[in-house]
Every structure is written in structure tokens, then in C-alpha cells.
Amino acid sequence: MPGRLARWISAADPDWDAVYADQLPRVYNFFRYRFGATADAEDLTARTFEKAWRARHRYRRDLAAFSTWLLSIARNVAADHVRARRPFVSLEQASDVRAAGTPEEQAVRNSDGERLAALLQQLPDRERELLAMKYGAGMTNRTIAIATGLSESNVGTIVHRAVQTLRARW
């Protein structure tokens, strides 16, 4: 094979381990924000990656599209989870979160986290999903709009309203 072609193919094939490391926290936090302690974020994250990994080579030239597509699979997994209402998902694992900081800081963070998670669960489903995409997965309003089919301004409005609700109840 001509050297130039080999280099081109090599350059076109991303480091999937690096992509995995980059995307894993986004998907994991999407589920944590989406379901709080009512679901196993690790289980849902694993299901998302297992589905996505088989077809990931389709996106070798457009990792931005891959990222959006991955979150669309995560949303489907979330929808399946809601539909199935599986009563025997481990709840213990969902609360197994780790964070840096002193034990005191950790206690405060856990306390705030539990409180916020409880407030999130009181929001309408769509608002919770958009907050999970924005703050859990770190998506911009534009990419959320692309993923959901909503307009960007509509996304901004819904997110703003949801945050206002959280602030009022905090």
C-alpha cells in the first residue's frame, strides 16, 4: 500500500479508547441527572456504549456527529428504562458516586446532590431530560436542539424555566 494512503487511513481512524474516555463521563452524567438515584447509571451507560460501539466506525470522520448520535442512543435507552419501569434495577449502585475533596466537602456535596436530585425528579420529564443533556452531558443549547428536534430558542426557554423552578424550590 502506498505510504501516503496508509497514513491517510491511519489519520482517518480515531483513537477510540480516547473517544471512549472523553464520552464516558458525558453519558454517565446524563443518566445521573436524568434519573438521580432511581436507576443504575452504570447499567444504562453500559447499555448505551454496547449499542453504539458496534456501529461507531460509521463516524470515523465526524466525531461531533458521533457524540450527538451517542447521546441519541442514551436517550433511547432512557426511554426504554422509563417504559419498562423495571422494579429490580439495583438502586445501590446508582448512589455509588465518587467525588474529590475533604470528607466535610464531600458530605456537603452529597447533601446538596441528594437535594437537587430530589428536586430534579419533581420536574416534568422533558425539562429533566433537557437539564440532563445540558448539565449532565455538557451539551450546548444548539446541540440539544439538533438532538431533540426543538428550536434552539425553545431549548433555551425550557432550560431557563426549569432552572428557575429549581431555584425557587432550592
Partner: protein, 325 residues
């Protein structure tokens, strides 16, 4: 509360989980590359293929017990799909259920005959042609009662595009097309012998363990499984967006869709001894008003598929499944 407060709740996944999942994805990649044999199209996990190509072989399974799936199909991955039972009843009422859709196009090339009783797992292994695994964990007072072996079966199915098109029209699926070149294509399915071990407690059957080697499915070249899969999912009642996303995100060559009646059942994707599978729980109302609980665990490992079905506690069922040696 500011944006920083919301952002500060993000956590990194545990390193152990990150490593475990990455390792699982690498294994998945390896097994997929081993399984790929595009020239011959001799593909494991045929259930989806047969379901889709000829019009939903999966439908009777909605009401059947898990072992019915096992008797027909074997797979690498199981994915549960919630299905509305009302939808299934409607399909049957319009003669769109599998016997009507495909009954005339299935040719039995080899009949398995009646199951044969054997006296030991070793004898079952000799009859079935593989080493039979036995649960090393048995719940209290649960004992192995019978073992039988169902013989090999071979089927040939012939696609009828017109019949599938009619089904789609009846169901108002107008935005999808039956793929060109489907009509008259044949699919050969070889289902190797299935071993069933039944366990009893106090003389009453409480659990059964089924195992078999992977079948072989020969497909003609050029069949667009994702397109056919999308049609099948739509007929099962998934929304257009769900069906499209689902069809494009799973590997149709290695995945068995397990239709689950959404109203009466719960399910989850699980791992048994590190292998992906599905756990299904059912609750059946009894004539006296009581409820009967049962569950099934389906998974595949090293070219074989396994099912554990019964009415024991979920913990006992899972321990039996994981103890198969």
C-alpha cells in the same frame, strides 16, 4: 442556585466501572470480528433475521415461554423490546400473526421428533453433541428430576414480499418500502439439539435449565437487515423514530430481540458470568385471585445459548444460572 451549582454535581464514573466497560467493549469487538464471515453469510443469532425477513416469527413468542425462543433461535446478544399485547391481539385478529404470514412459506427439512429422555447430563451431552453444563448451586429441597434432549431441526423459509407489503398496508406503515429483491429469497436455519433439565421441589416442577449450541443461518447476499428490522419493529408497534434509531443502533447479525408484553412483564439487560443477557419477570393472575411469579434468564456464552426459567426467587434463579459448570 447558579449554573455552577448544577455543573458541580457531575461526577466521574468509578475507575473500576470505566475499565470493566472498556474491557467488555473490546471483547464485543473481538467476538464480532470473529463472527463476521460475510462471504458465506453463515451467521449466528438468527432470530432477528428470521423474524424480519418473513414476517415476524417473534410474535408468538410474546405469549410463549422463554424456552420457545431457545428452541428456535440462538444468539450472541439479547435485547428486550416492550410490546403492547393489544397490538399482538390486533395482528392476530387481522390474520397478520406469523402462522398466517409465513406458515405457507416454511419448509421443514428435518423434523426434530419428540424429545428423548436420558438419565444423566453425560448421556444428554452424547446425544446433543456438546458438553452439558450443570448448575453447581441448587436451592434447598430442589432436585434434578428429568433430562431430555430435543433433536436437530432444519427449516427453509421463503420470503413473500407481497404478503409483507400487505401487512404493512394494513397497519398503515406507508413511509417504509419492502426492500427490492426480497421476494423468493430463501433462508436456511439449522437448529442443533436442545438439552432441557427440569428441577422439582416436593414433586412440583419449579425450574428448568435449557442449553444448546448456536444454530446456523444461511442468508442470501444483499439482504438489508437493518431495513427489514425497521419494518419488523414498526409492525411490532414501535414508533417510527424508535424503530429507526433501534434498527440503526443494533447489530442485526448477532442480536435476538425478545418481545416482552409491556403490561405484564418487567425486564432488564443483565450480565451472567460477564456475558450479556436478559432477565424477564412475569406475574400471572391465578383463578383464585392470587398471583404467580416467574422469571427467565437468557444469555449466550462461547457459542452456546442458555435459558433458566422457573418460579423460584430471582436470587435463586440467578445463582443457578451463574453456577452452570
Amino acid at each position: 442556585m447558579e449554573d455552577t451549582d448544577l455543573n458541580s454535581l457531575r461526577r466521574d464514573p468509578s475507575p473500576a466501572f470505566a475499565v470493566r466497560l472498556q474491557s467488555s467493549l473490546h471483547e464485543q469487538e473481538k467476538s464480532r470480528s470473529h463472527a463476521a464471515w460475510p462471504r458465506l453469510r453463515a451467521i449466528a443469532a438468527p432470530a432477528v433475521i428470521v423474524i424480519i425477513i418473513l414476517g415476524l416469527l417473534s410474535l408468538p413468542a410474546v405469549r410463549a415461554s422463554a424456552q420457545s425462543f431457545l428452541a428456535m433461535f440462538r444468539v450472541v446478544n439479547f435485547v428486550a423490546v416492550p410490546v403492547d399485547e393489544g397490538r399482538i391481539a390486533m395482528l392476530e385478529s387481522q390474520n397478520l400473526d406469523p402462522p398466517h404470514l409465513i406458515g405457507e412459506q416454511i419448509q421443514v427439512l428435518e423434523d426434530p421428533g419428540a424429545p428423548i429422555g436420558v438419565v444423566s447430563p453425560e448421556q444428554a451431552g452424547t446425544a446433543a453433541g456438546f458438553e452439558v453444563k450443570v448448575p453447581t448451586y441448587e436451592p434447598a429441597n430442589v432436585t434434578l428430576a428429568t433430562i431430555d434432549v430435543k433433536g436437530q431441526q432444519r427449516l427453509r423459509a421463503t420470503a413473500d414480499a407481497e404478503r409483507l407489503r400487505h401487512a404493512m398496508e394494513t397497519l398503515a406503515i406507508t413511509d417504509l418500502e419492502v426492500p427490492a429483491g426480497l421476494d423468493g429469497q430463501t433462508v436456511d436455519v439449522r437448529i442443533p439439539p436442545v438439552v432441557r433439565m427440569r428441577y422439582e421441589r416436593g414433586g412440583a416442577p419449579v425450574v428448568e435449565v435449557l442449553q444448546a449450541k448456536s444454530p446456523e443461518v444461511s442468508l442470501p447476499d444483499g439482504i438489508n437487515l437493518a431495513a427489514l428490522g425497521e419494518i419488523g419493529l414498526r409492525i411490532l408497534g414501535l414508533s417510527p423514530i424508535e424503530a429507526r434509531d433501534f434498527a440503526q443502533s443494533i447489530d442485526w447479525y448477532t442480536t435476538l430481540l425478545v418481545p416482552i408484553p409491556a403490561a405484564a412483564t418487567s425486564f432488564k439487560q443483565i450480565a451472567i458470568n460477564g456475558q450479556p443477557g436478559v432477565a424477564v419477570e412475569r406475574v400471572r393472575r391465578l383463578p383464585d385471585g392470587g398471583r404467580q411469579f416467574s422469571s427467565s434468564y437468557l444469555w449466550s456464552q462461547n457459542g452456546q445459548v442458555f435459558a433458566v426459567n422457573g418460579s423460584l426467587s430471582a436470587l435463586d434463579m440467578l445463582k443457578m444460572a451463574e453456577s452452570l459448570k
